[in-house]
Symmetry: C2
Subunit: 322 residues, 2 copies
């Protein structure tokens, strides 16, 4: 197995080697290229390559399907940015802001079709399973996004509902990515399923960790400003479990949520979260899901070197707290 940074470079080169029409179709494919060039961690395609290599294939065999997974992820970002009216994405104008909403919709559709095209670049013997799993994953992601949108309008959301939502919105794609790699690598159906569970649980840990970092993280390490979730009253693991805690401070939290979106609000809510013990309990939830991911991994027939590579990935994603 290689270092994670080596898998990232392989993905990066493959993304840059994608051939897309230009000329009079620049208005359609230009935003696709722009979205894909934004970089980021390339976490999902890296998981495809790792899955393939862990089960014995040359990771290059999985590189086109891995690009497909990244295309799918970026398709969701283009459409999410329209739905959230977000002007920024990874420090650059979003497609929606740089062009317009119609361009983000249509080039997003294009990325979804290109994703299907790339993900299905697998052996014929795998084609049926890969398409079925890809379509199921895509529906899971839409269902998660729908629940997320619905939750924003609701008075209260339970922690269980929140976990179910992030399983769909974040976990399903990580599960699919590593399972796709495993299938390409020749994993048995049973091992492929366990790798899916591994990715799914890792995805939940990753999202709760992200929620934690948005409030308690070090801005330099997190890579974006702290406190945005609090400013926007975004449903996060912290907010949902705080409101549901039955603690004496729930009322104070509700009052603080009604404050204007300033640094004072961020400090006030952060202090209430700390008083409620959420810094520790969210931390424990990350550890719990990371441990479930590790259990799924241990249950596979992978060798120790392969398991170690995935263990490192878990530490990287679920251990970003300083």
């Amino acid at each position: 197995m290689k270092r994670i940074s080596e898998y990232s470079s392989v993905v990066e080169s493959a993304v840059r080697a994608m051939e897309l029409p230009g000329g009079k179709l620049e208005g359609l494919y230009g935003p696709v290229k722009y979205g894909m060039e934004a970089g980021g961690k390339r976490l999902r395609p890296v998981m495809v390559l790792m899955g393939a290599e862990a089960f014995g294939a040359d990771p290059l065999k999985a590189v086109e399907p891995a690009v497909g997974v990244e295309l799918f992820h970026n398709f969701t970002l283009l459409h999410d940015d329209v739905m959230d009216n977000s002007a920024l994405r990874r420090g650059r104008p979003s497609v929606h802001a740089r062009w317009d909403a119609n361009t983000a919709i249509l080039s997003g559709d294009t990325m979804l079709t290109l994703a299907t095209e790339y993900v299905t670049r697998v052996d014929d013997s795998l084609l049926r399973r890969v398409i079925a799993a890809f379509d199921r994953m895509a529906l899971d992601v839409y269902e998660g996004q729908r629940l997320d949108m619905d939750f924003e309008k609701r008075e209260s959301v339970t922690t269980e509902e929140y976990i179910e939502m992030i399983k769909l919105k974040t976990g399903a794609l990580l599960g699919f990515a590593v399972m796709l790699g495993a299938l390409i690598g020749g994993a048995s159906d049973e091992d492929a399923r366990k790798m899916y569970d591994f990715g799914m649980m890792l995805g939940v840990a990753f999202q709760i960790e992200d929620d934690w970092l948005d409030t308690f993280g070090d801005p330099a390490a997190f890579g974006k400003p702290i406190g945005n979730d609090i400013r926007q009253n975004k449903q996060t693991y912290l907010l949902v479990s705080g409101l549901q805690s039955g603690s004496a401070d729930v009322e104070a939290l509700r009052v603080a949520m009604a404050m204007p979106a300033t640094d004072t609000k961020v400090r006030t809510v952060t202090r209430i979260y700390e008083k409620m013990g959420l810094k520790e309990s969210a931390h424990a939830a990350v550890a719990e899901y990371a441990s479930r991911a590790m259990s799924a991994l241990r249950a596979t027939g992978l060798g120790e070197a392969q398991k170690d590579a995935f263990r490192l990935l878990v530490e990287k994603l679920a251990g970003r707290r300083k």
Copy 2:
């Protein structure tokens, strides 16, 4: 071969039999059902069934892929209505108007994935070809929509550019639909390609006929009000070839285009079109593409009864003028 209305009923039943999740996911799948219930001609899925039966299969074998084609078509309508900000679709509020733009985007994405899921319900031996053709068709449709959006902002568009755009935006899906049916029916690669050409040329004839009817049609037979294209200065075969005609009336046409969107404008532009001879030349263009469709059909190995059924379809779609 059956009557077109019989194929439509088969499609209608299959659409109504689709099982989609409800409950807390009603916000995602409700608009999908709403979009699919709108009816319309069901032209594209009918062409799938006709293709399958013409080449010897029970059309029921093609009914799920046919529903997939209808899902794809309705996905494009959901997103187009957001992009055009259209409040009405087939006499009812569009999904965008009845819910909101975000719902139309997300439920549209869902329809595209469901379309892939249904279209791929074919024998394993066809799977690779069907996916490749479906993805290519989808990209063609997006490219056509992009060109259409770009043309709306341009001073002048040539008739050739306009034809290229409607080949992509309208022709590609009709070509794919009938080719998909043909493949399911067991057509040779060569016959499948010819049926694609048949559908493509029929699509171009159908779109120019639609442009003609929007100006010169009988509102009762056309099923929607006349003159909308003129009111909105929409790029149509009439407008594009009028502006490009080099006739002495081009200046008058430009002046009329600048009028407010009233019935007077519709009457004025219609009169200029008639003076330019566009009523006849557009009619001739419909006939030309219908004849190209018939040539492609004749070149296949189909029997006379099968060819007759498709000939009827051409007459129905390209002969709606009274």
